[in-house]
Structure formats: structure tokens, C-alpha cells
């Protein structure tokens, strides 16, 4: 009785038994974006230029032109983003099955470890430890890696050193494990990418991108408010913009949580 189910949900939302947590950062010009060597192409940061604000350009209305890269702010990575996912069907944001836009989440808290070590690596043993307490990660679930990195800002958030970025993320083995053994729908992180800052030196390089997108799974990054989610039981709404042949997009990520 789907109508009853939705009515119950609406009622629970109205009554506050189910609350909505916004996992999205505000898109602003100052939010760090991924940095590539300067001779390579760069992702454009978020920019907003005014068309009019109740002035000569438009006397009664306010509006702006926006520009940004697909991978700016809180954003979604589609399989076509990485070479490993280039030949898969339905691999771009416009062809993304709507059914994949709503999925449950397992939140694995590694904030303490990340506070101690910016190069903290999320491993299979972290997953095993979590599963001991909360049970096996269900198929087609998001795994959201809580590091509390979203509480940092500016230089501390990007944490760029002379030898590259130092931010926590998964190692290669855990990505293979989550994709192949657990069948997750995707990995969500609080850092600039789904991969660790130093992941270019891993084997394979950028294992989260490599394994997730190679298997047609997704990435969410620059998430925030993961500390407001329970380890299990939340439902994630992540619908990227429908950009033709797009490799990703900024989006609003919402979580439903039943208290």
C-alpha cells in the first residue's frame, strides 16, 4: 500500500519523527576545489556574476549567472568520471537511474583517527570493526566515511603541502572489498575527493575512483553534517543535475533520519 507508506512518511516528517539532515555545503566562491598541476586543465571554482538586482539590468528582478566545474562543492561523481567506467551503460549523470538517487546509508565514524592523522587510511579492518557492532553492510547502500573533516575550512580543509594534499580516505583494498564483497552503491566522504589526499601514490592510483566507477558505482564528496546521522537507518537523497553526458554535478544531498 504505497499510498499509505508515503502518507505515513509525510506524517512522520510533519510530526518530527523523521527529520531531514542537509549534508550539503553552501556553494560559494571560497570553497576549495581539487587542484591539479597548473599546466593541466583545472576545475573552475564556483562563481556568480550578477545579471541584475532591481536595477537598470532588470528593474524588478534579481538573478545571476553561475559558472563552476562539475566537481565543485558538495558533488556527485558518475561512473563516466573515471576511465574505468567509460564504457559502462548509464554512466553519466543524465542517464543515472532515478532508483539510484535514493538509497540507505551506513555511516562509519573514523573522526577520532582522522583528527590524529590527516593521512588516516580507511581499511577493511575498519569495516570489520563496524560490522561487528552494526551488522553486515547491505547491498546497494551508501558507505559514508565520517571524518569530521567538514568542520575544517580554507587551508586546513585543503591541507595542501609541498608533496600534495594530506586528507583521510580509503586504501585500495577496502574499496575493492566494499565494491566486490558488499556491493555498495557508492562512497561518500567529507573531503574534497572520495580518495585520500595522497591516493595518487596508491596502487592503483585513486582506488576509490578506480573501483567505484569501474563497477558503475558513485561518489559523493564534500559532505557535511555526517555527525548528525546514525550508523545505520538513514536514507540518502542524492539527485545530481541532469547534465547531458555530465561526469558529475554539485547537488543538494539530504538524509532522512528516524529518531
Amino acid at each position: 500500500m504505497s499510498s499509505n507508506l508515503l502518507a505515513s512518511l509525510a506524517s512522520a516528517l510533519g510530526g518530527g519523527e523523521v527529520r531531514i539532515v542537509d549534508l550539503t555545503h553552501t556553494l560559494s566562491p571560497d570553497f576549495p576545489v581539487i587542484v591539479m598541476p597548473p599546466e593541466l586543465g583545472q576545475s573552475a571554482p564556483f562563481r556568480m556574476e550578477r545579471i541584475s538586482r532591481y536595477d537598470g539590468g532588470g528593474p524588478a528582478w534579481y538573478w545571476n549567472n553561475l559558472s563552476f566545474g562539475e566537481h565543485t562543492g558538495t558533488h556527485f561523481d558518475a561512473p563516466i568520471h573515471w576511465y574505468t567506467g567509460r564504457d559502462l551503460p548509464l554512466n553519466s549523470v543524465d542517464t543515472l537511474p532515478p532508483a539510484d538517487m535514493i538509497a540507505p546509508a551506513c555511516v562509519i565514524d573514523r573522526s577520532e583517527q582522522s583528527a590524529k592523522d590527516p593521512d588516516f587510511l580507511f581499511t577493511v579492518s575498519d569495516v570489520a570493526h563496524w560490522e561487528d557492532q552494526h551488522g553486515r553492510i547491505p547491498e546497494r547502500s551508501w558507505v559514508l566515511l565520517r571524518t569530521d573533516w567538514s568542520k575544517k575550512s580554507g587551508a586546513a580543509y585543503a591541507n595542501l603541502q609541498a608533496d600534495g594534499a594530506h586528507t583521510p580516505g580509503p586504501d585500495a583494498e577496502v574499496m575493492r572489498f566494499l565494491v566486490e564483497e558488499r556491493g555498495i552503491i557508492g562512497l561518500g566522504t567529507e573531503t574534497i575527493g572520495t580518495d585520500a589526499g595522497q591516493a595518487g601514490h596508491f596502487s592503483p592510483p585513486y582506488p576509490a575512483h578506480h573501483y567505484l566507477h569501474g563497477a558503475g558505482r558513485y561518489g559523493l564528496q564534500c559532505l557535511t553534517n555526517l555527525d548528525q546521522l546514525p550508523p545505520t537507518g538513514s536514507l540518502i537523497f542524492a539527485a545530481p543535475l541532469k547534465i547531458q553526458n555530465g561526469s558529475g554535478s554539485p547537488l543538494r544531498v539530504l538524509a532522512l533520519v528516524q529518531d
Binding site: P29, D30, E39, Q42, P45, M48, E49, G154, A155, L160
Partner: protein, 414 residues
């Protein structure tokens, strides 16, 4: 002797800001030969190619031999003061605010007699003088007479300062602190007596090796400024716009991309966003307030400097996108110059060849040391110039363009 210019007091917030007025500004088309000479810091007069006689004022034919072959040529800049006067009363609104004004008749060693503005340290009639052509606040060339040798605090002369953009006691904004030009420019400006140097830094979250070295210099303040962001530029102008007496746009964006490369358009867009659109955003945010402060006391707004590649004047294929962006910047710069001139604020374009810096690593010498460019910019401000060609490559290109622009185009990239 010139009294040293005292450090200006803080502005009285109750006092109305003096509005800029301009000296009389109409000249004949031919007389813009002087404008060109003054803009480039040269001393030129009409000289007959037939009989060799210098002539002034501007004529269409030689008064000696009636030849019409009367081009502007570099001339010896020395002369003798015949007579002088202190003008005390005038109906001209610009000079009325600046009375008394010293002027005189100078007999040039090369022949003609000219009316010149006089430095306060010039002696009386019979004194030997060095002449220069200077752009006044309206952008028109005038003769200026100085003593033959340096005198103490010479640059502080009230009349000379009207004809220059001397950094002394002025507050400067450098737009790109990450540029290799920033450290030597800060040093040169400090040496010239700049009161304060704001240095713009984009993306504070990206590490910047030179930060500590800049931060410890007294009088330097690092400010957030990202020319690719309208909001960032507007926000800074809201904070310090009325305190920028000289704005030096050092922003550049050099990428080597072939015209036919995939992604060349994205690279071009990126370059134009940093350069042309960056200058546009700066002009929109800072232009109005800079122009309005052209007569705001000792530390009035005085100049806007754009550091451009000399390839703004003729493309070089290895840096095709950069050349195109610089040509566009030059065009916008000329527009901005027109707007700023109405406030008596001068705009100087410093044309440089490839800098001895990372983005020109593969370019063979001669390359321009950032310090050489920095020193030339400060010298240009002190002399009140409008166009500066710095270094061998820039000077050579300027000369070759005058001679045969088509040859420059054909030989580029060979």
C-alpha cells in the same frame, strides 16, 4: 630648495573631497607628436628633414625652407631660461586651485623658444635648464624645465608632482602577490617612499611560499583578492577602494596550448578570465573611486598600472592564447585610460618581454628579470609616463613594429 613633502595627515571625514579638475586639453592632431613623446618619456620636436631646423610651435611646413617634411624627432633637451613669471591670478578653474604657478620662456639650445612649467629649484633668467615633455592631468604634453643637476627632494616639487605619479606617501595595491614581480616591486615601491602596499592574494587556502617574506615587510598588508571572482574584487574595493592611490595590476596567466588542441578553448577562457575579465572586474570595482580621488590632496589617486606582455602588440604563436589575452587587455586598458583621465588619473601600460620566471622556462634568453621590470615601473611612475617598454625584447619589438609590422608578424615563431 624644495621643502620635503610632509607625510599627509589622515583625512578629515567632515571635509568634502576636492573634486578633480583638468587643465585645458585641446590640441591639434599634429601636436599629438608631443603627446607621444611625453607618453614615452622622450623629448621630441618637429625637425625639418630637408634643412635640419627644429621648429616650435607645431607647423605643417618648415618656416625656414617651406618643406612639408617635418616629422617629430628626438631633440636635445637643454635650454636657457629667458624670463619667468609667477602666475597669481587666472580664470582657469584647474590652475586657480594651484596658484601661484611658475612658468617661463625657455630658449632651447636647438633653436625654438617654448613656454615651460618651471621646477621651484630653477634659477632666474639666464639659468641653464633641462627640459622634458610631461603629460599633464588632462593627458596633454607640456614642457617642464628643471635645473641641470639634481637638487634635494627635487621630486617633491608641487608642480612636478602634478605631472607625475610619484609613489612617495601614496598607498599602493598590487593585485597578485604570487607573481614573481611582487617581491621586487614591493621593495622598489618601499624605496620610493610608498606609505602602504596592499598585496592581493587569491585562494588563501593554497600554500604560498613567498607569503612569510612579504608579510614581514613593514607597510605591507596581504589582502584577499581573486580577480576571477566578482565578489572578491568588489569586497576588497568596499574595504580599501578609497585608500588606493596607485593600483598596479600584476595579474597574468600564461599557458602554452596549441590553437588546435582539444581543450584550447577552455584554456583560452581560463586565461581571459584571469586577465581580460580580471581587469574588467578591477576597473568596475576600483575605477570609480580611483577616478573620483584625482585631486584628493598629497596622496590623491595618481595612477593605474597594467603590466602587459609586449605580445599584446603582435602575437607570438608559442604563446598564442596569452598574446590574444594581452591584446584584449591593451584594448580595455585604453578604454580605462580614457575614463580615468577625466579624474586626472594616469594609466601606464608597462610592456614586458618574457619574464625570467617559471612559465617562460623554455623561452631562450634574453629574458627580463622581475627586478628590472619592477624598477622600470617605479621609474615610470616617478616620471609620469604612459607607455613603458621594458627590456630588450619589448624595446626591439616596439622598434620593429614602427618599422614594419608585417615583418614582425611573419617572423614571429620562426
Amino acid at each position: 630648495m624644495t621643502e620635503p613633502l610632509p607625510k599627509p595627515k589622515r583625512k578629515n571625514p567632515l571635509a568634502r573631497t576636492n573634486q578633480p579638475l583638468l587643465p585645458p586639453s585641446s590640441r591639434s592632431r599634429k601636436a599629438h607628436g608631443f603627446t607621444r613623446a611625453a607618453a614615452h618619456g622622450r623629448f621630441m620636436l618637429q625637425r625639418c628633414d630637408e634643412c635640419g631646423q627644429y621648429t616650435y610651435p607645431t607647423r605643417d611646413a618648415c618656416p625656414n625652407c617651406l618643406s612639408s617634411n617635418l616629422p617629430f624627432r628626438d631633440a636635445p633637451a637643454s635650454g636657457t631660461l629667458l624670463s619667468e613669471t609667477q602666475i597669481g591670478v587666472t580664470s582657469d578653474p584647474y590652475y586657480r586651485e594651484r596658484m601661484p604657478w611658475r612658468a617661463g620662456l625657455v630658449k632651447l639650445d636647438c633653436g625654438p623658444t617654448v613656454v615651460a612649467h618651471l621646477h621651484g629649484d630653477c634659477g632666474g633668467p639666464g639659468s641653464l635648464l633641462t627640459l622634458s615633455l610631461q603629460l599633464d592631468r588632462a593627458g596633454q604634453a607640456v614642457f617642464f624645465g628643471k635645473p641641470l643637476s639634481e637638487t634635494p627632494h627635487m621630486e617633491d616639487d608641487r608642480q612636478l608632482r602634478e605631472l607625475t605619479a610619484d609613489p612617495k606617501h601614496r598607498r599602493i595595491l598590487l593585485t597578485d602577490g604570487r607573481s614573481s614581480l611582487a617581491p621586487p616591486l614591493v621593495q622598489a615601491l618601499k624605496k620610493a617612499g610608498a606609505a602602504k602596499i596592499f598585496v592581493g592574494i587569491a585562494d588563501r587556502w593554497k600554500p604560498f611560499d613567498g607569503r612569510a617574506a612579504l608579510e614581514i615587510i613593514e607597510g605591507v598588508e596581504l589582502v584577499d583578492l581573486d580577480l576571477t571572482s566578482e565578489r572578491s574584487v568588489q569586497d576588497l574595493a568596499k574595504d580599501i577602494g578609497a585608500k588606493v592611490d596607485i593600483l598596479i595590476n600584476t595579474a597574468d596567466h600564461v599557458r602554452q596550448v596549441h590553437l588546435f588542441d582539444a581543450g584550447a578553448a577552455a584554456s583560452a577562457r581560463d586565461t581571459l578570465d584571469h586577465t581580460l575579465m580580471g581587469l574588467m572586474r578591477l576597473a568596475q570595482a576600483f575605477g570609480p573611486v580611483v577616478r573620483s580621488r584625482g585631486a584628493d590632496g598629497v596622496n590623491s589617486a595618481a595612477a593605474w598600472v597594467n603590466v602587459l606582455s609586449v605580445h599584446a602588440l603582435s602575437s607570438v604563436p608559442q604563446f598564442g592564447i596569452h598574446s590574444a589575452s594581452q591584446a584584449a587587455c591593451l584594448s580595455l586598458s585604453q578604454w580605462l585610460r580614457h575614463e580615468l583621465r577625466q579624474g586626472g588619473v594616469r594609466l601606464m601600460n608597462a610592456f614586458a618581454g618574457p619574464l625570467d620566471a617559471e612559465w617562460f622556462q623554455t623561452v631562450p634568453p634574453p629574458k627580463l628579470a622581475p627586478k628590472t621590470l619592477a624598477d622600470a615601473i617605479v621609474d615610470g611612475l616617478k616620471r609620469g609616463l604612459e607607455d613603458l617598454y621594458v627590456g630588450d625584447v619589448a624595446k626591439d619589438l616596439e622598434a620593429r613594429l614602427l618599422d614594419n609590422p608585417k615583418a614582425v608578424e611573419r617572423e614571429a615563431g620562426q
